[in-house]
Amino acid sequence: MSPLTRIAGRGIIQPSEAGGARLPNVVGPRVAARLLVPFALAALALLSASCGRDASALSATPVATGAAASPVRYGGTLVLANRGDPPAGFDSLRTSSIALHHVGGALFGPGNLVMRCREDASQVCAYLAASWSHNTDFTEWSFDIRPGVFWHDGTPFTAADAKFWLDLAYFGARAGEKVRAPAYFKAELGEIERVEAPGPDRLRVVFAAPNRHFVESLANPRFKIAHPRHLMQPRIDAGEVSLSPLDVGLVGLGPFALEKYEPGTIVQVRRFDRYFETSPEGPLPYLDGIDYVVMTEPLAMDIAFRSGRLDGGARGQGHYLSPERKQGYVKDLGDDVVFARIEGGTFRLAFNVLKTGPWQDSRIRRAIALWIDKPAAIPAALPFGWTSLETTAGDGEIRRDFVNWPGFDQAPLESRRAEATMLMAEAGYAGGFRMGHLCRALNPAPCEYLKDQLAGLGIDLTLQMLDEAEWNAARLTLDFDSEQGRLTPPSIPEATVSVYGRYSINPDAFTKHEDASVDALYARLNDAASPEERIARWRDIERYLFFEQTYVIPIAESVDEVAYRSYVRGLAIPMFDGHANTDFSTVWLAK
């Protein structure tokens, strides 16, 4: 989900007046989309409220097929595939891997003090904190911890536990000589000075600098509390600083407690009877348990699902379905299978303008942006993606057209390409040049697609195929010419400075540049007084980054699809993020 959608809510999308007429046939030029202001304001009004909604008044959410809600049934075990073993000992502070979070949702819950609301992921709902407030200059945030929350071993959850987790995440830990590194997402939390627990049900976070959007950043499904203070603190203080949740028996706060973990094979969780969340139908969760079967090979998962051994597919790149694999599912199961659509990552091309090469000239980058045939990227490079306005059943939400987003390049392909050729000649590279490109060996299709596209401009895109370890390392250096960037940018616009900002401050930025005007633009964004101003200033940043400077070329937004058997009801769909809604507490089996 783009940061813009997140701050403006999932309103109805209308064609933009500034862009041009919307043609009646779908094969014509795409038109830019912009949010309808009244809807955006309404959604923002809800968001900017300081108090959260009580998530215990949850209602069952409809399923993708739009089936009518029927009375829920308690019981049954859901069998899902998992992409691999949860890494890092299930430590949510170390890894954002979907292999962990697919399982982590059930064990540790959908969030921490706060969470993304199940019905509308653009909003923040209460979870372990019943309510929160902040002081006038946003340097102090206070949370009221909900009563009646228990760890899986029966110990009550208190503010001291929340403080322990936040301290561990932000400051790490130290025992004598040994030091524990802080969480990988520390930078997204702002500049925390200290965390206090003035009472058993009150938590206070004090910041060194104003943090206007703390709860928005905190409400990230990846930030799960998997670290029980009463089990971990004594051992960490005694010197075991690298202690992981697996070492202490995977005691969590989520709707399901661990039953059995066989590495390489299966993770089994069973209903936790003292879980605090309820629905109008009764206590949550509805399921007796979930079995996550480790299946690293997508082909094996397909066959297992189609023969009825799985109730749901795995999440993660490679396991998400492609149109061809999906055909096999439909052929074998017909109406017995439904497909959940998840917003995937953005397929983009980012440049390293700090490395000497023709791409340092913004005209060249502009030419490349004009030349690329974006709809053709789907489905050649992406399994599914945004190609046109479409609706989803159920909640009537309408998707926006992303392909020519954010509305700057709307001319037909031929004239865009003519302009591109002209720009290349103007910059002195009519004959083309060679440019390197970092590529993940796991997912070479987008790279192959780009190589073919750029060949039309005479650019020889040299692909550097790297395995995961090398790719993660190489992204932080200045040794490459272009890359696609990682898939998951931070959730709120203000935090995207870590992927669009200056290299010297943000080494993992998509694009490597030292452009100080980007700093200035983000400073203005941080100072936005009203929601409309916030949207407008974010738009300015997008215009500067994607259009004027073309540091990054957004090409298409991918959609990921996961299969579920049609008797699996209560999934919160559509999902904005594959890491979200993995708690399955509202899921029940209609069989």
């Binding site: 492609s322 061809e324 489905p379 190589k451 040299t462 550097q464």
Partner: protein, 286 residues
């Protein structure tokens, strides 16, 4: 050469040689034989069935499969020849020397060979490929490193064989005679042992050709090996089998047939050569 004449007299061996020759010719003339380029994408023509403009159909990017199989032949054949060649040379030198010298040196060298033999060839290949860094991602570098990985995986087996052959030949009369008249070990090995042992080794290593090509297929399974978008049979097999086999089986079958044809041909050719050169006679009916 007499050997070629002997081979062509046997129908099966002759057929194998012919098949290999066809593949080599096709690989050399790839640009002429194939109507389309192997890298030309056409998103509108994805996964087309064989026929018309595309003899073998198209793959997930709309690329012509016939062209990719033909160009992939180059890659596979070079990896095979280079890999087996390196393995043969390296393994023979080490094995023959170790067998000839004998004693403690022999035992130590054999332990090193054992270590490499026990080593998973895939891990070896993986390490070599990844260690070469970004340079390996050009087609030439990838081919050389795949061949190198195959060579290291196969060389221990050649060394074992060379040693066994040397040990057997060492007892032969003419070797003893040569040593008796004071010929240096190098001369003895070079002029007497190797020429007699080489054919047997050669016959064995033709069988490794297939193993080298199949190793590249396993590397593609891991995402290593020949980098996309360059065509390699192994990568085409993996993509076709795991991504769109039921929808477009031709994307898997044609590279698979090509692979099988080359592997079978080299194996049967190796059989024939072994039968010709085996000093104990053996089967003469291939």
């Amino acid at each position: 050469m007499r050997a070629i004449a002997l081979v062509t007299r046997r129908p099966v061996a002759a057929a194998s040689l012919a098949v290999l020759a066809v593949f080599v010719a096709v690989a050399l003339l790839a640009d002429i034989v194939a109507a389309h380029g192997p890298l030309e994408q056409d998103a509108a023509r994805r996964l087309l069935a064989p026929g018309g403009d595309h003899l073998f159909g198209t793959d997930g990017f709309g690329r012509d499969i016939f062209s990719r199989v033909v160009h992939g032949a180059r890659v596979s054949l070079v990896v095979g020849f280079l890999g087996v060649g390196l393995a043969a040379v390296g393994g023979t030198v080490v094995g023959a020397a170790s067998g000839y010298i004998g004693g403690k040196v022999d035992m130590l060298v054999q332990r090193v060979v054992d270590v490499f033999l026990g080593f998973p060839p895939l891990v070896l290949a993986m390490v070599i490929l990844v260690a070469l860094g970004p340079e390996r991602t050009s087609l030439g570098a990838a081919v050389v490193s795949s061949a190198g990985a195959a060579a290291i995986a196969l060389a221990p087996q050649v060394a074992r064989l060379a040693r066994a052959t040397t040990l057997a030949l060492r007892q032969e009369g003419y070797i003893e005679a040569a040593r008796a008249i004071g010929a240096s070990p190098l001369r003895v090995v070079g002029r007497h042992v190797l020429p007699n042992g080489l054919p047997i080794i050669l016959a064995q290593v033709t069988g490794f050709f297939g193993a080298a090509i199949v190793l590249e297929t396993s590397l593609s399974f891991l995402g290593l090996g020949i980098p996309p978008p360059y065509p390699s049979w192994g990568r085409m097999l993996n993509e076709g089998a795991r991504r769109y086999f039921e929808v477009a089986p031709w994307a898997t079958i044609f590279p698979g047939l090509a692979l099988s044809a080359v592997v079978l041909s080299t194996a049967m050719l190796g059989d024939a050569l072994r039968d010709i050169f085996d000093p104990r006679g053996g089967d003469r009916d291939l």
